[in-house]
Amino acid sequence: MAILSVSKVSFGYDGQVVLTDITLDIGAGDRVAILGPNGAGKTTLLRLLCGSRSPSKGSVFLNGRRVNTVPRPELARKIAVVTQDLTVPFAFTAREIVELGRTPHLGLLRGFRSEDRRAVDQAMQLTDTTGLSDRIVHELSGGERQRVVIAMALAQQPEILLLDEPTHLLDIARQAEILDLITELNLKRGLTVVAAIHDLNLAGRYFNRLLLLHGGAVLAEGPPATVLRAEIVEEAYGGPVELVPTGDGRPAIVLPASRVRDRAKAL
């Protein structure tokens, strides 16, 4: 049964339509990448999935309940969100940031307990951030900070992890580090993962289900081999691409087909 299900959802900001008639089922333990050109509605779809926006038509269901009717703290115990860039004006340490992940489990009369400390310890171990505990968050490198933010999300002990561009601004090794971590959490802990991602090749390599948005609608959906095909990608992004097979059974590499190179040859 689908843990998150999107049923005929449309959404727009100030009369401008962003998503139209999206239907989508995400099963428990899925690892889904949302792809699409800039402005295709990737981030908006994530916002609808976590209930921070309400659809103008249709509904999003979490375990069969309308997501907008689930009380905030309860929702935050089920769904954790890693946003694109976290800026913290205060000098919080990495551990203090991860501890914020316990917020939905705490209450007026329920303070920080040993189980919260355990959840924080575990989240920091999984993300290999224990050594960063006392460092101030904005003094960390991009990759370290991203791991801390993911640790905060894990401290929420969610069933679903939503990520918006988790590899944004990271170098190639840090990209692999973050995506390996996410894949491991998915495979070993059964965490459902949905990530909006820009890089088609990273998506093809690390996710087993891709969802390609174009003009606010789903253009293609399925395993990488069915979605990452030249004609589909060209239609979505509106430019020529070239597919380079890897030969090891993994999805082909998508490259932009440069017109300049052909012209250079002609010269």
Partner: protein, 366 residues
């Protein structure tokens, strides 16, 4: 490795920097608690008639009913302490605590280091109310308060309601809008006060009253006045102490706070209400005392980190100790004149804060 800020500040006391934050917090609370009591006793002793701290301690211990020390001091000293000095000194403590806690609330809400208790225009409203009180109702009195404090309180709360109402857009209160509306309303009211001060001459009233009020000073004279202010500040502080987790989450931005399960708009409304109640109570007893609500929270953040769970109680004690000391100095530095305490808080707090800022060898993030 400890965080850089804390290392450099505590560098001379390296063993302290190695303490776990929880232990450092408890030590800080203990130390500030002692400072509050010590400054209250010390401040009660100074004035035209000097009463030694030992005698004051004796009087206070006897009043608890648990001690029966023999009275080695003149009865007149006891009258001075309990009738005149203690209400005022305790009022300074309460006003300092209120301003400092309100400062933490507004800095956390607005994620802005320049925010202080007056940032959303409560100062302008209070000043307007106070001036109106001085100009129109100079002989009015309610619950032991004259028109100035009563109208200052109402002016502050009324302005908060007005600013909040104006900043609402489609069920939300964007903090930038809140800041701008607060600023605009504050400027308009500020110049209205200037206008009242000018036309005031026609009523042949003493402009010094308003001027002194604008600079800040503790005008509590009776226990009954103190009781009412204490009640308001106690309620506000208790409210504030329920908000730290929400403020911590809000530090990450409103969207992230929502993802952590915070009902963001409700949280913001409560913070504004509690912060304004504390500010209004403080200005009605102390006028526009500047700097306390700005400097004390920053000072404590540099020493103990930004976690609001620890910062709020530390700020209550720190603000109390700071203002009691400043108010004492205001009474004694230029005898027989009394300086407005706002001048003292700037003179004492400013350099101390600059020194501390210099010792953090890094760009300041609060």
């Amino acid at each position: 490795m400890r965080s850089l800020t804390q290392v450099s500040i505590w560098s001379k006391y390296n063993h302290v920097s190695e303490w776990p934050p929880a232990l450092r917090f408890r030590a800080g609370m203990g130390l500030l608690g002692v400072l509050v009591v010590a400054s209250v006793v010390l401040a009660s002793g100074v004035g035209a008639v000097h009463v030694p701290a030992r005698e004051i301690a004796g009087m206070l211990l006897n009043r608890t009913g648990l001690f029966h020390l023999s009275q080695s001091w003149p009865q007149s000293d006891e009258t001075i302490i309990f009738r005149i000095r203690l209400p005022r000194v305790l009022a300074a403590a309460i006003v300092g605590a209120a301003l400092s806690v309100a400062g933490v609330l507004f800095q956390g809400l607005l994620r802005n280091p320049l925010a202080d208790p007056y940032v959303i225009g409560t100062s302008g409203g209070a000043a307007f109310g106070a001036s109106l009180g001085a100009v129109l109702f100079s002989h009015f009195s309610i619950l032991g308060f004259g028109a100035i404090p009563a109208l200052a309180f109402l002016g502050a709360m009324g302005t908060m309601a007005l600013v909040f109402r104006f900043s609402r857009v489609g069920g939300r209160t964007p903090v930038i809008t809140l800041l701008l509306v607060g600023f605009a309303v504050s400027v308009v009211l500020g110049y209205t006060v200037s206008f009242l001060l000018i036309v005031n001459e026609r009523f042949e009233l003493n402009t010094r009253v308003i001027y002194a009020w604008l600079l800040g000073g503790i005008w509590i004279e009776h226990w009954s006045q103190l009781g009412l202010i204490a009640l308001l500040v106690a309620a506000g502080t208790a409210g504030a102490l329920m908000l730290p987790r929400g403020l911590n989450a809000l530090a990450l931005g409103e969207e992230s706070a929502q993802h952590l399960g915070i009902r963001v708009e409700r949280q913001k409304t409560v913070v504004i209400l509690v912060g304004s109640l504390l500010t209004a109570a403080a200005v009605s007893a102390g006028g526009l005392i500047g700097f306390v609500g700005l400097i004390v929270p920053h000072f404590l953040r540099l020493l103990f980190g930004p976690d609001h769970v620890r910062l709020l109680p530390l700020a209550a004690l720190g603000g109390a100790a700071f203002l009691v000391t400043a108010d004492m100095l205001a009474r004694v530095v230029m005898p027989p004149n009394e300086l407005p305490v706002g001048i003292l808080t700037a003179f004492v707090g400013g350099p101390a804060f600059l020194l501390l800022l210099r010792r953090t060898n890094r760009e300041y993030r609060f």
